[in-house]
Structures are given as C-alpha cells and as structure tokens.
Symmetry: C3
Subunit: 215 residues, 3 copies
C-alpha cells in the first residue's frame, strides 16, 4: 500500500522496516534549497498518514507517527517516537529529541530545538527572526526537556523554555522561562510553579508532582 | 468521480445519496485507536473536497460540506448542514449540532461540544486538558447555540460559552462567558452585550438585534 | 509530471510556460460560488507543490511558488513572485501585489489587500466581518507596502497597516497602524518605530535602516 512520489532516488532513502505509508503520502521530497546531503534516514516502525510529505535530507528515529498533511523539511535531526499531528510543519534545520509530541496546526520555525519529552498543543508557533525579514541571525527557541506548551501559544526567537515549564494557552512568550515555571498572558509573565498547581476537577491531587514525571 | 482510499469496508460505510467526493478525499479511514463501532454514517448530499479525511466510526447528518484537507476523526456525532473549511481538524468524540460552521485552520479538541448554529472563525482552537499531558479529565469547552467565536480565539477546557455570545478576535477565554456577552482580550473579559453593539460601517443598524436571530 | 484534477476546462486555463506541478496538486478547481468569469490566468514559472489547490477564476502573475496544501480561491488578483507556504488559504476576492510572501498556516479573509513586498509570518489570520455572521460589510484589512506581520498575529477587518510597519508576534491589531510603527500586544499598541529598533544579537546594527529597504 506504499506510494512514493517524487522520491529523490532509492540510493538516498534509508527506510527502516515496517514502514506504513498511506497512499498519497510522500517520502524523500526534493528540497528547493541546495543542501549538501540528500540522504533521508527514517527509523523502523514509521506510520505516515495521507497528505504528509517528508523531505529528503533529514534523519528521523524509530517509531515516527504522523497525522495527515504533516510536512517535515530537510536537515532536521529527530529522535525516536516523534508524534506529529495534522497540518503541522517542521521547517528545515530543527533538532528534536526523543518522545516529543507536536500536535495539529503547529509551525516549528527553522532551527527550533525541542528536547526530550516536549509537548506542543495544537496551534503553537515558534519564530526565528527577531526582525523579519532581516534574516541575519535566524534561530528558533530552545524548549528544554519535558516542557509543555499550551494551545495557540507563540514562542519568540532565541528564548529558552525551562525544563518541565508550562506555557499557558494563548501565551506570547517573549523572554526566557525558568525551569518548572508556569507562564501566561501577552506578553507572558510568570504565574506560578508547576508543582503548586492543583487539579480543580479533583480527579488527581497534583497534576505535576515532584520528583519529575518519568519520560 | 468518487475515490475511496483506506475505507474500512463497505458493510461499515452507510453513505447517503448524492455524495460528491473529490479525487484524493478519503471516507472511512481506520482509526489508530481501538473503538467499539467502526460504522460510519454519512447523511445525503455531502460535498467532500480534496485532501479531506473522514474517519470511520462517526455519525454525520445531511448536507455535510467540507473544504480541502479537513480531518474529522472517529466517534463524533455531527448534525445536519455542518460546514467545515480548509485544514480544520475535528478530533475524536466531539458533539456538534445542526447548522454549525467551523472555518479554516481550526482545531476542535476531543470532547468539544458545539450546539446548533455555532460559528467558529478561522484559526480558533479549543483545549481539553487543564494540565497537559495529565489526561485524567479530558473535556473540551461547551459552546451554546448561536455563539460566535472570532478569528484566532482560544477556548480553554471545560468552560461554557453562552448562547449568542460573541468572542472577540484573538481572545483567550479562560472562564465561562454569559449568554449574549461580548468578551475580548487575553485573558478575555466581558466588554459588553451583543444587543448593544452598533455597526460602525453603518450598513445595518444593529448587527445582533433582539429577539434572537433565526437559526 | 503534471496532474490536473477537476480542471474547469482547458479553454479556461491560461497557464504560463514552465509550470512545475506536483502530482496531486490541482489547478482550475471549480468554485462552489457562481462567478462571472472562470478563466484562470497563471503566469510563467510557477512551482506548485503537492496538495495545493488553485481555483478557477483568479489571475496570478509570474513566478508563483507554493508550499504543500495551499488553497488559493477564485476572484483573486495576485502579482508576480508570490510565495505562499504550507496550508495557507487565500480566500476569494483578495488583492495581492508583487513580491509578497505569506508563510505557513495563514488565513487571508475575503477582500484582504496586501500591497507589494508584504510579509506574513506563520499563523497570521485576517478577519473581514466586524460582526460575524452579519456579512453586510465584508472587507479585510489593507496592509501597505513592505509591512511585516509577526507570527500568530491577528488583523481585524477594515484596518490599515502602514508602510514598513512591524506587527509583533501574537499581536491582535484592532485599529490602524501608522507607517513604520512597531505594534505589539492584545489589543496591539504602538511600541516604537522600526528605524529605532536595534539588533540585540549584534550581527547587524540596524535591522530596518532608513531610507526604505529595497523591494
């Protein structure tokens, strides 16, 4: 049931066992930019849904799972068990750790860094140019391990989101966020610490207990 | 001109008359989650545009019209005349009434409830987990009948948006909104009532006259 | 390698030389609305990527380049060298000048006007109805030449964004923005002028020097 459209050539595709590729999905799409290495390495067990396009020239670990209409560009380095949902674009040159989950309708700007276990809710966008279209110093944010970013949040270029931090829905984050901080608003301000959050619904006592959640 | 890719099996597809399915659109996509009932019921007169994927296991009324690249997941119950535009995802388990219109690039989180006549402008996102990735109490917002949500607005989990309420563009709604209230900002605050709004352009006197607009 | 799905008829398609159309892309899609002129004029040198749909009834200049899953609706007039990225929708009746770049996951409402050299970062949404779903006075914003709009920004109906203005990431712009102003926040307020901005990274002295940047 696999369909390869526009693949750069079989000698440049290193596809792991068990690839489950929907009809209409594309693996090995040739970038418009000239890059030095077009080899695509895709680990075993990938599930790639319809409408998704994986560019040549990236390296992706085992267990990739995509939704529909996902685009992963060239020169990305992505760890194992990356889950990425409908109509999200991972632009070129991103570095993504293990166990990362990026939900639907997100955009990861070039050179965004997501460490292990990071979660992006739907609609999150990262930026990489402090003065568009200057382009002289493109660099995305760095999101440290296990940080969670709420729906429709915006992360500005070159900032660091600390480990286990929680960025509230709709927040516009313009500066660094400390480890385990909760931030919200436009511009985002620190509103507390994750270990102090209580579940108002009452189904769990502490949603973010110490010590750190297992990855 | 119909094309079925990945359909779960004709015995599980109950498709109404007059289906207009673009090439490359998919009806009856098999969910990754295990669910008890894979039957897809799609009412008559559906118009489904290219790139759209309708999962198995949902029940959708007459007159569905989609844009391009729409995803409707499993276990949704959707009324008649649902219009949903380009690259919007309706995640699983949503309940949607009659005459609802959800515009482009929206994301409806699992268990979101939209009553009759609700309108979502482009880019609206709903959330369902107060403490991602806790997952213990997933529940989307409930948007009551005829409420209208402006572009790029964000609706937090478990809140209720009242009947005929108007959520302003870019608002981040963190708590319940009364019937007929106008809210705006991040976080959203009540800014007035819909019946007091006046049209600055002057083409109509009152955009939201009392009694309620007909559905 | 060209594939035409759903084209309105070759006599109504006026396609320039050198068209590079990915498999699965669609040129000449028939609108659901009745319009007086279904002719599609597409200038030479277009590069149209997979999943993209160009409707009949628009006029687009030379050098169009699209990402994946772009939708350009009918009755748009678009200049030369338009670049538009993944999953952006340009709704019907938009006017777009030369050298405009609209990034991923944007939505341009009907009757939005973008002058020459305008840049939209990812996730920007424009609105056109001050009182949805009134519909009596639909009109998008007008974005003057060389203005730059940051990620996830929201532009309200009928406003004007001045020449060379810079709209900050996540800003919700509810009123006119003067030429060369920098605005940010929800609602957006003037935060300075582009010629006073300094690059904190230090790679360039002034990101927006006077006189105006060359187009």
């Amino acid at each position: 049931m696999s369909t390869f459209h526009g693949a750069v050539g079989s000698e440049l595709l290193e596809l792991g066992d068990g690839l489950d590729l929907d009809p209409g999905a594309i693996v090995g799409y040739r970038p418009g930019r000239k890059i030095s290495n077009l080899r695509l390495v895709l680990g075993p067990g990938a599930k790639i849904r319809s409408g998704t396009v994986i560019y040549a020239g990236s390296r992706i670990g085992a267990g990739l799972e995509t939704g529909h209409g996902v685009v992963i560009r060239e020169e990305c380095r992505i760890g194992c068990r990356f889950q990425v949902w409908n109509h999200t674009t991972v632009d070129y040159g991103c570095e993504i750790g293990d166990g990362v989950k990026v939900h639907a309708n997100c955009y990861l700007a070039q050179y965004t860094v997501l460490e292990d276990g990071v979660f992006f809710a739907p609609g999150v966008v990262t930026a990489n140019d402090p003065h568009p279209l200057c382009g002289a110093c493109l660099k995305g944010p760095t999101v440290k391990r296990m940080a969670r970013i709420g729906v429709n949040a915006t992360l500005l270029p070159r900032i660091t989101i600390g480990e286990y931090a929680l960025v509230g829905a709709g927040a516009v984050v313009t500066k660094d966020v400390p480890d385990r901080a909760v931030v919200a608003g436009n511009p985002a301000r620190v509103a507390g610490r994750v270990e102090d959050l209580e579940c108002k619904v009452g189904l769990v006592e502490k949603p973010y207990p110490l010590p750190p959640l297992p990855g």
